[in-house]
Amino acid sequence: MASNKKYWKSEAELNPNDSIVEALRQNEFVEDIPVDEFLGDKETLESTNTNRRDFLKYVGFSTAAASLAACEGPVIKSIPYVVAPENIVPGVANYYATTIANGFDFASILIKTREGRPIKVENNKEAKVGGGANARVQASVLSLYDSTRLQGPKSGAGEDVSWAVIDAAVKSKLNSGKQIALLTQTYASPSTSRLIEEFKAANANVNHVTYDAISEEAALTAFESKYGERALADYDFENADIIVSFGADFLGDWQGGGYDSGYSKGRVPKNGKMSKHVQFEANMSLTGANADKRVPLTAQFQKVALAYLYAKLNGTSAGGEIPADAQKVLDSLIAQIRKNKSGAVVVSGIDDINVQTIVLAINEMLGSKAFDSKAPRYTRQGNVKAVQSLIADMNAGKVGTLIIDGVNPMYSLPNAAEFKTGIENVDLSVNFSTNWNETSAVSTYAAASNHYLESWGDAQIKKGHYSLMQPTIKELFDTRQFHTSVLKWMGSDKSYYDYIKETWSTFVLNGSDFNKAIHDGVFVAGSGAMMAVSEIADPVMMAASSDKEEVDEMVDEAQMMSPSISISSAVRSLANATGADGMELTLYSKVGMGDGQQANNPWLQEFPDPITRVCWDNYVTVSKADAETLGVINENVANGGLDGSYVNLTVNGVTVNNVPVIIQPGQAKGTVGLSFGYGKKEGMKSEMQTGVNAFALYQDFSTIQSVSIAKAEGNHEFACVQLHKTMMGRGDIIKETTLEIFNTKDHAEWNHVPQVSLNHQEVPATSVDLWDSFDRSIGHHFNMSIDLNACTGCGACVIACHAENNVPVVGKQEVRKSRDMHWLRIDRYYSSEESFDADNTKKDDFDGLSGDNGSLGGFGELEDPSANPQVAFQPVMCQHCNHAPCETVCPVAATSHSRQGQNHMAYNRCVGTRYCANNCPYKVRRFNWFLYNNNDEFDFHMNNDLGKMVVNPDVNVRSRGVIEKCSMCIQKTQKSILDAKRDGRPVADDEFQTACSSACSNGAIVFGDINDKESEVAELKESDRMYHLLESVGTKPNVFYHVKVRNTTEA
């Protein structure tokens, strides 16, 4: 009976004649399933005669066909050289010394080539100046294989033309009476200077204008008026005991960059001493993050503070007021500087001639050991006034021919619109560039230029320090470098190589061997003969600069007046500096992108900014207080991504819309920051068109602008690789101490080994072992040492690792899902209180759950970084634990340990369970969620033949579904061992290198064999500062760190 019971779902069902009820009963789904929508439109579906059976037949046939086809192995062809080049042995790398001088980055480097392909950039250790390659230089080898490069000369309309057409066009315009303008990057090149001089001599009315996208006009002018040469003072921070910086990001790109290795050497405590670094700045810069004391200060107050510093040191007084905390820091500093005048150095990044004049005056006054005005740097030569007058000339129709090389004014000029109308009034414009860019689009011809790895060239980075650029590969395309073209236009049949050789033997070498100079890549004018040599060589540079002045004479009137600006008036004007109305915007360049020349480089796009850890974007950095006022937010959303509000920035009537916001701890209140280098559109792959163009706001070539901010609609999706910003008082991740404690107390106190309980006894965690230890005292035992004091977080190692190990680029969306593939990451931590120490104390003092010292609320507070936090960087890669948690959980034994201390990963064995990644306490294992090579969904570089040329043939390209991780560059250690075996000798200590350790020009990463007791790394392992990451876990890593020591000594 019970089974006859009837249930009603709705009242309507009581009426058996209800048509809706009937219909619903017949249909499986209440709503129609939109089958047609996902199968295509209904009509075509109906018109086709493929029925289900046919479909199954096709499936069956194609499966069978595919499996049959798969049975036969592919026939692989090997094509040897017809005539093998003498020095190429397939499988053996060759290294060539060359130089990058692209107008923004200048460095002497080595290029590793395999079978004729450049695949990696290494530091040139023989170079005393500019021998360290930063992240951009490391990545520049990939730009050589950019599939969007210009493959031949084109017309402005984008049609292919031949070089003969361009040559004919230029030649017909020479000596036409109108001005011939050369608008170029900074070359700092003796040969180029000579070439341009000769070009000027051969043709009437030639005007050479040097233009830097990010200008150092103020510093150049100040130096010129003081020392009579348009150059930049050089600093050797290794010799500085006290470094005071007013907004100078000298670990970044300040005045051409390249100062970090000297800085780092002074930062490692030796004999109880290390340099002290105080930074006054608005944006949280890389330099500020490394400072012992960082004072967030608006540019206005920085100026006042600088005037105050000068006056105090000078024994006079200056007006103006600065915030009390800054005043306190400054007073203590002044006291210290007075004690050690020559040990102090003051630098500033403020684009103000008064500031730069005073900085020079202070350093001169102090007699700073770190300050070098005698042999200055030539890495920035741009002349803003000349550029502006050229644009005026162009608009006035005075310019007949405009040749552009190495710069992209349509992108990087704040007044690009003016330039555009100007170039339309020019009869002929030729733009030399490797890629099609904004300027190419408005030029008559886009001349395809060589990449620097295909070019000849030279550079004088610092007076007396010369370097040579030699091609490491033949031109890949129908390209020609600017210099060759100029030689051709001058009717010379000399090659640019011969021209350089001639220049060098006449002016530079002073009898030394040219071939040796090419081999070394660098040439230093001998110390004895140095002055003489530089005098010989100098006329080249001097002639160039003096001629420039001649041309710019009229516009330079004001500039020539500058020497007459007395120091006192400069001080006065600084002391009276007034604040901007509204917010103060500080424009800066990121270590990953610079001026945006390599915006099309996927490695750089995916390189996380060291400070914000955001990749694939630029953004406006706002302080927490200002964010609250503006009502802008950052939030972490459910899928692990970071979202941010948009704002519109308006400077002087120019608005940049929809700039995403990052709330930046340490940003000075009342200031915002925005980086250059993004927002490029022309000639770029759609994936690479990221961010906004900050050059539009770079008015009057000043990085400091007054800006008004308005919140805009919408949310921006960031790709940020580190969401947790603080360390929550966990002092065992980054151990920190002060120089005072370091010098006076036992290391057990400041480098405490975590204790565990064994048999109810507290014992050091390192002494407890679950496993039987393997005896590693025989053979090699590799260890890596990372000195947190020497690491500035610059990220050159990250890119070097990318290049060496064929790490794939995954794209913004994937990074947002935490699927980034970096084998080596640089963690950045903020303190929640004023310092990490205060965090630790706060955590230790938690008492109970709730209440004032309760852990419930307390941990919440610890999650928020302070308004001006201490910052620490920590490079983390696979720690190669001797007791590796990953190895014990792998079901297929794909990861295993070697006697040499490396944790091996056999990709072909991995089945992708990801247990290892879960069990890794350091989170260094990366999973290939997709096939990143040969896959057009990932349109970066591994899906085209050109981009694949950068792949290192000694390392696997991993496939989908496997875990990968740092191998401690086993291909490099194995090679060093093999070389030694072949020669029948023990391996020398410096032969063992990883990509990161050899890329680190700061000496923060040292790699070697600890069983070789003489080795540097063995010595470092015995240091008191040595500790392992998460020592309490008992993993016994083969990577160890050195406690960070901060010099907080007060006067």
């Binding site: 192995g73 026939v75 692989i76 062809k77 090997s78 094509i79 040897p80 050289y81 017809v82 005539v83 093998a84 042995v89 397939p90 499988g91 053996v92 005896d775 005292s777 025989i778 053979g779 794909a894 295993s896 070697s898 006697r899 040499q900 490396q902 091996h904 990963m905 056999a906 990709y907 072909n908 064995r909 000694d954 390392v955 696997n956 390209v957 191998s967 086993i970 291909q971 194995q974 061992i977 093999l978 030694a980 075996k981 072949r982 020669d983 029948g984 000798r985 023990p986 391996v987």
Partner: protein, 456 residues
């Protein structure tokens, strides 16, 4: 009927064998004749021993001169007569020239200067050690009439005959065997049929009745469940065994011997001529790749070796000839090299018009396995033949070893590391041998079985 054909076949075989025998005996006689001609030639000279001259010529002159074609220097057949006729130069001039050609050029001798200019100003090495008698011998050799035409016909005959004989030895015998087998089957069938017919005729039909009464064997089998179970297990195990065996050979290309664009015989180069492997594969000493030699390496020798003449009595062997590897065939392959490298034989010059050779790669390790030749060849001092097999006997190169991981591992387990005299190993050898208590160490004991040593 069938038997008749069979008999015919035998007579055919016999007939062909006879022809072959006759032909080969003819060619033997032909060779004898050639020898006689050559012997006659040697005697027919003015004061020189052509046989000695030949040895001297091969030793001193052959690198730059050939008898009938221009090489680095001019063709030398009948050089004395030619000079006498064309230039009016006598043997004395030749003595002077051979002993000190640079001097002659310097002295401004007109013909000397002319020749020097004609041959790209490649100066001929002075041979002051050659006596006039030696030169006489050489000149006697150059003046000897060429033995070529007779040899050519003889060889041609040889080829034809050996081709025929080779054919008989393999294909025809096989064919005959198949035929015999087929006939036997047919006979069995016929006999069976005949017997049945006889039985039918006699009215006997016992067989069928029998079959109906008894349970068929397969039914009995199917009813015995134990037997079925055993058989199923056996079948499953058997098929698993074969499936495993089959699967494991997927991707193993042992014996892979693809056809190459140029028929390069390792047998001739490494075997007959005993050229050291690493002369051509030089990068095996210092690189991970053994390297396929670039064509300029070939031209080191093949500038002067422009034809293949074989080795008397050895090569080409009957077997070679049976495969079509005649002298002309090999010479043709050398011409292919010339075409690829752009060598103009006529003018002894590179034309610059090159076509790289697309060799088919034989040994393919998967990308995830790292192998370094120099480690094995130079450090381990392992013979190339250990992995590549008897290359010096391979007319066509093939993959000798399976190149599987198991094969690698086995060798690493069994092979001792060559530590003697290598400073690198000094310390580690001392320590490890103490630890394991052995004097010699295998690669495995040195850590040669670790995954990461080959997979990264």
């Amino acid at each position: 009927m069938k038997k008749v054909t069979y008999r015919n076949q035998i007579s055919k075989v016999l007939g062909i064998s006879l022809v072959v025998f006759l032909l080969s005996s003819i060619s033997l006689f032909a060779q004898d004749e050639v020898a006689a001609v050559e012997a006659a030639a040697t005697e027919d000279t003015s004061g020189g021993d052509a046989a000695k001259g030949k040895a001297l010529f091969n030793q001193n002159c052959a690198a730059c001169h050939a008898m009938d074609r221009k090489m680095t220097g001019p063709a030398l057949r009948n050089v004395e007569a030619r000079l006498a006729e064309d230039e009016g130069l006598d043997r004395e001039w030749l003595y002077a020239w051979i002993k000190n050609s640079p001097g002659m050029i310097k002295s401004g001798d007109s013909y000397a200067v002319k020749t020097y200019a004609e041959y790209n100003q490649a100066a001929m090495t002075a041979f002051p050690t050659l006596s006039n008698g030696d030169i006489d011998n050489i000149l006697a050799y150059t003046a000897a009439p060429p033995p070529t035409p007779a040899v050519a016909t003889a060889v041609a005959g040889d080829v034809a005959s050996s081709n025929a004989s080779g054919g008989i030895s393999n294909e025809i015998i096989l064919g005959a065997l198949v035929l015999i087998f087929g006939l036997l089957v047919m006979m069995l069938f016929l006999v069976n049929k005949t017997l049945r017919r006889i039985a039918e005729a006699n009215g006997v039909a016992v067989v069928k009745e029998d079959a109906e009464k008894r349970t068929p064997i397969w039914k009995a089998f199917a009813k015995n469940q134990f037997l079925v179970l055993c058989t199923v297990i056996f079948l499953l195990l058997g098929s698993a065994y074969f499936a495993y065996g089959w699967m494991m050979q997927v991707g193993v290309d042992q014996g892979y011997a693809p056809i190459q664009p140029i028929h390069y015989s390792h047998k001739i180069h490494a075997g007959t001529n005993k050229i050291e492997c690493k002369y051509c594969h030089s990068s095996a000493r210092k690189s991970k790749h053994s390297g396929i030699p670039s064509l300029n390496v070939c031209m080191n020798c093949h500038k002067s070796i422009y034809e293949y003449t074989g080795t008397e009595g050895e090569a080409p062997s009957q077997e070679d000839l049976a495969n079509g590897y005649t002298n002309e065939f090999y010479t043709g392959e050398i011409k292919k090299l010339y075409a690829a490298v752009g060598w103009d034989e006529e003018n002894q010059k590179y034309t610059g018009d090159t076509t790289p050779v697309e060799w088919v790669r034989i040994h393919n390790l998967p990308d995830f396995a790292y192998f370094n030749h120099s480690q094995h060849v130079e450090v381990g001092q392992i013979e190339c033949q250990t992995c590549h097999g008897p290359v010096e006997e391979m007319e066509i190169m093939y993959q000798y070893s399976p190149l599987t991981m198991g094969w690698c591992i086995n060798c690493h387990r069994e092979t001792n590391v060559k530590v003697e005299g290598n400073e690198y190993y000094a310390k580690i050898h001392e320590e490890l041998s103490k630890k394991y208590g052995v004097e010699t160490l295998t690669a495995a004991q040195m850590g040669g079985l670790e995954c990461g040593k080959c997979h990264y």
